[in-house]
Symmetry: C2
Subunit: 175 residues, 2 copies
């Protein structure tokens, strides 16, 4: 087990600004690129991250602290952001993500006592019993997953452009 609250927060803090730095000002060719039908471009990934801040991580933590493992927490719709009419620019989405993440980290730090809460259990609608430390670890890995997704989607734009070098570039074969 490697989870540690302080280290987890180091990543959670960095994700929004890392993505903001990387994505702001990029050409539409990069920003609108996806991996084909039913896959997400960078903007859709940011919207999904915002959705997680609103309806997944902190709400579930609060639910566990309040309800324990007797009551399953409500399922999280991983596609919720796709059903909304969204006229934000990616710049606005990045700003919103940065703000709501900062609020959630403050809330987490105020609410969580790592000595007491990490082993507490909740009830996941699909998985059954889960622990607070698993939820928080997943929050971190979820960030990293979506950073990796954004750069992979961009890499794939050049799948044919790299010519024979594709042999060395495993990222072009992943999903």
């Amino acid at each position: 087990m490697n989870f540690n609250t302080k280290e987890a927060i180091e990543i959670l803090k960095r994700t929004p600004q890392t993505l903001e730095y990387f994505l702001t000002g990029l050409s539409d060719g990069w920003l609108q690129s996806n991996e084909g039908e039913g896959t997400w471009n960078a903007h859709e990934v940011i919207d999904h991250l915002i959705e997680g801040e609103k309806n997944n991580w902190m709400p579930r933590l609060e639910f566990i602290l309040r309800e324990g493992e007797d009551k399953a927490f409500p399922p999280f719709d991983r596609y919720a952001h796709l059903h909304k009419v969204n006229e934000d620019t990616i710049k606005q989405a990045l700003l919103e993500f940065k703000k709501i993440r900062a609020v959630n980290i403050n809330k987490l730090q105020a609410l969580l006592n790592p000595d007491v809460h990490l082993e507490l259990k909740g009830y996941h609608p699909d998985f059954g019993v889960v622990k607070v430390k698993e939820l928080l670890s997943t929050w971190v890995v979820h960030d990293l997953t979506h950073i990796a997704q954004i750069v992979r989607v961009m890499a794939k734009r050049y799948t044919t452009d790299v010519g024979p070098w594709s042999e060395y570039l495993g990222i072009l074969k992943k999903n």
Copy 2:
């Protein structure tokens, strides 16, 4: 074909500062993590990126512009950075990467005439004939590959910590 010199430079410009923002100040637990024997931690990835700036991308471009396809360009040792005694901190490595990348982008912009040079051919020691635009596309995808690698390595630190959520987190099964 999607390659476009201006857009390619957008990524090349952002990589060092994106990594600097993401990695600076992280705990050693994150920075020293790798995927097991023979794999790289974040610092080793940065050293490899620096090595590429010194001995791969721009030197090969200059070689092609000078020699054409008659002479194979010298092979690039992808493990060169592992043979060197390196006492830099990751902060120093990130700064070196940022500086040398900026120099190389300036050199590229001064040297390359996209209307004339992109279709020029060189001779790769393993692949045979390659084009300038393929080399430059590979430079970009190589950046994206290593950003993805760094976040994947970090994600894997929490492979067991996420508990049953690992089912949803494909990144933990990749290499």
